[in-house]
């Protein structure tokens, strides 16, 4: 047995409604059938009572002999017709002797059990009703009356009986029809409950879908309009999401502050070391470099952790490429780098603005370092919810065997190149975090082609 608290609400409601409906319908069915049966028997008994009354009233005594009246009921004359009567003489010893009988009885008798005789004895002059067996073992309904006739010594029992099969059949048919009707009713009620529950719980299902969308990063909060019972829950959920976001944001800021706070002391160490050349300076320089890489690495880790909480963001690509192109041309002003970029205006990256800037910025900066003067960047949608960012330069490019190396953390292909040389490894790390990939290749412009496969936000 499952834990009841885990049972589905729908099933729980439908189950309760079903059990209750079944119970009520069952009681109603039994009650109705019993009512019908007793009404039918009452009607039947009345017609039998008329017959016994006729027998009683019409019987005469001639010379100590009892004579039954001539009855016109044709059914009592045909053999085994189903309608019978008999007049019994009850001797003082208690033995019953038929005095007169209907012709329909032919060669059989209707016998009363001693219990039935006792009932007749207890209430002389009053009609009593019994169930009994008749000829051919048919079930009979009988009415009998014990009376004394003037001029006749023994008490006499007038008994009329009729085959009760028709009323039993009627009652059974009625029970069958009632059962069908009530089953339909019960089914209808349960179905109505199912519909009611489903419809009634729709907002709950909608809320569940919205929460799922938030978790998958398709939405940032629960936005729908809800009935007053659910509204507080939606409000609480949003508050929780906001709180979560805030905590993540705070942690991120803390890590960021720590990382940035470490960089100034590192600068001091590097500068101090550079002013006193020697072994110490070399060690300090190397260690400072390692520390810097560590700091950057953990800074990115913190950002990635924050990202997994909120991936619902969408970032338009075009303005970022524009900003980066202007900035990078400024950075490489002395070299005279020209950045030609293309991007559809409605293209959106599925993720954070800062991350996309970091990705595109590092790839384009790397191109800027190596190019002879021209960079081409192109962002375009590709396939289902994906986009490609392709950056080409006209520099020396990378031989295929060095390309894999270029993406590894802390690898510097050229110690003389300005900057940390970490650019592409950062790009690789970030791209992976977004479920994308980096492909290094040969550019038609002669240099390196870097192609990022990234998630695209649907427009």
């Amino acid at each position: 047995m499952l834990d009841l608290r885990r049972r589905s609400l729908v099933r729980r409601l439908v189950l309760i409604a079903g059990i209750w409906t079944l119970l009520v319908v069952l009681i109603a069915g039994v009650f109705l059938t019993a009512q019908f049966r007793s009404a039918a028997i009452r009607r039947f008994d009345q017609s039998l009572a008329v017959l016994t009354d006729d027998l009683y009233a019409g019987s005469t005594v001639e010379d100590g002999q009892l004579r039954a009246p001539v009855l016109t009921d044709i059914r009592a004359t045909r053999a085994y017709s189903g309608r019978y009567w008999v007049i019994l003489d009850k001797s003082p010893e208690g033995a019953m002797r038929p005095v007169e009988r209907s012709r329909s009885l032919f060669d059989s008798d209707l016998m009363l059990s001693s219990k039935q005789i006792d009932r007749l004895d207890a209430a002389p002059g009053q009609t009593q009703y019994f169930n009994m067996r008749g000829p051919q073992d048919k079930p009979l309904r009988a009415a009998a009356i014990l009376a004394r006739l003037p001029g006749y010594a023994d008490p006499v029992v007038f008994l009329a009986a009729e085959d009760r099969t028709p009323i039993d059949a009627d009652a059974d048919r009625f029970a069958g029809v009632t059962a069908i009707a009530l089953t339909i009713l019960a089914g209808g009620l349960v179905l109505a409950t199912v519909v009611q529950v489903r419809f009634g719980l729709t907002p709950l299902f909608r809320l569940r879908r919205e929460v799922a969308a938030v978790r998958r990063g398709k939405a940032e909060r629960v936005d729908g309009v809800y009935p007053e019972e659910l509204e507080p829950l939606a409000v609480e959920l949003n508050a929780l999401l906001a709180h979560n976001q805030e905590v993540v944001e705070r942690q991120r800021t803390h890590v960021g502050n720590l990382a940035h706070a470490l960089k100034t002391p590192l600068s001091v160490m590097l500068t101090e070391a550079s002013q006193q050349p020697g072994q110490l300076a070399e060690v300090v320089e190397r260690q400072a470099q390692t520390m810097r890489e560590q700091v950057d690495h953990h800074l990115r880790r913190a950002r990635a952790a924050a990202r997994s909480q909120t991936s619902g963001e969408r970032t338009p690509v075009e303005p970022i490429l524009d900003e980066l192109a202007v900035t990078l041309e400024r950075i490489f002003q002395d070299k005279g780098v020209e950045i030609d970029w293309r991007c559809p205006e409605d293209l959106c990256f599925q993720g954070e603005k800062q991350d996309f800037m970091e990705l595109a910025g590092n790839v384009m900066e790397n191109a800027g370092k190596w190019c002879k003067g021209r960079i081409r960047a192109e962002a375009a949608p590709s396939g289902e919810a994906r986009m490609l960012l392709t950056v080409d330069d006209d520099g020396p490019g990378l031989p295929p065997e060095e390309r894999a190396q270029a993406l590894k953390r802390g690898q510097r292909l050229d110690e003389n190149a300005p900057g940390s040389g970490l650019g592409l490894s950062i790009v690789d790390e970030l791209t992976r975090a977004y479920g994308g990939s980096v492909l290094l290749g040969e550019s038609p412009m002669g240099g390196l082609r870097v192609r990022l496969d990234l998630p695209r936000a649907e427009t």
């Binding site: 940035h260 160490m269 500068t271 950075i331 002003q333 030609d340 800062q354 910025g361």
Partner: protein, 225 residues
Amino acid sequence: MRILLVEDDPDLSRQLKLTLGDAGYAVDHAPDGEEAQFLGETEPYDAVILDLGLPKVDGVSVLERWRRGNVATPVLILTARGAWSDKVAGFDAGADDYLAKPFHTEELLARLRALLRRSAGHAAPSLSCGALRLDPRAARASVNGEPLRLTSLEYRLLHYMMMHQGRVIGRTELVEHLYDQDFDRDSNTIEVFIGRLRKKLGADRIETVRGLGYRLAPLPGEEAA
């Protein structure tokens, strides 16, 4: 050469003062944003080395105030914040170069030399078209004194159109002046760049003459140069 060093860390400040002094620069030091802003507005420096995380007023705000107050001194930002969003924000505020901490002293000196070399020899005749101005020496353009952020290709296109303002210029002519070699002359290249320029300059400055090309003209009410 007079340099303003804005840095709140005392050790780094001392080292940089020494290094810059050894390299032959006269160095003033401001440990916070307020003092930096005051010095930058009052003293004629040749260049500024500006930290972003400063007490009292942060570096980006100081830079923005200088630029709004027409202080054109070249500024090199020296900061622990090395993310691209920070760099873009720095350049947007009006920085001329950007160096992330930790750095090598030699690199700082090299950047500083380049900065000073670039800023030397301003005063070149500038082009104008209504409220639009273009300074060929600094390769900067502005509308109503607000600097425009243009990439070099956009700048080159604007420069050509300003030299030939009032005249209808065909697409082929424009594309030939945009690219020095026959490189990527796809049919809608010019449309893309004209679209971007319109976004940055305002939509009505560049007129499309159907079938012929484009024309740059002053807005009605502005005076042609």
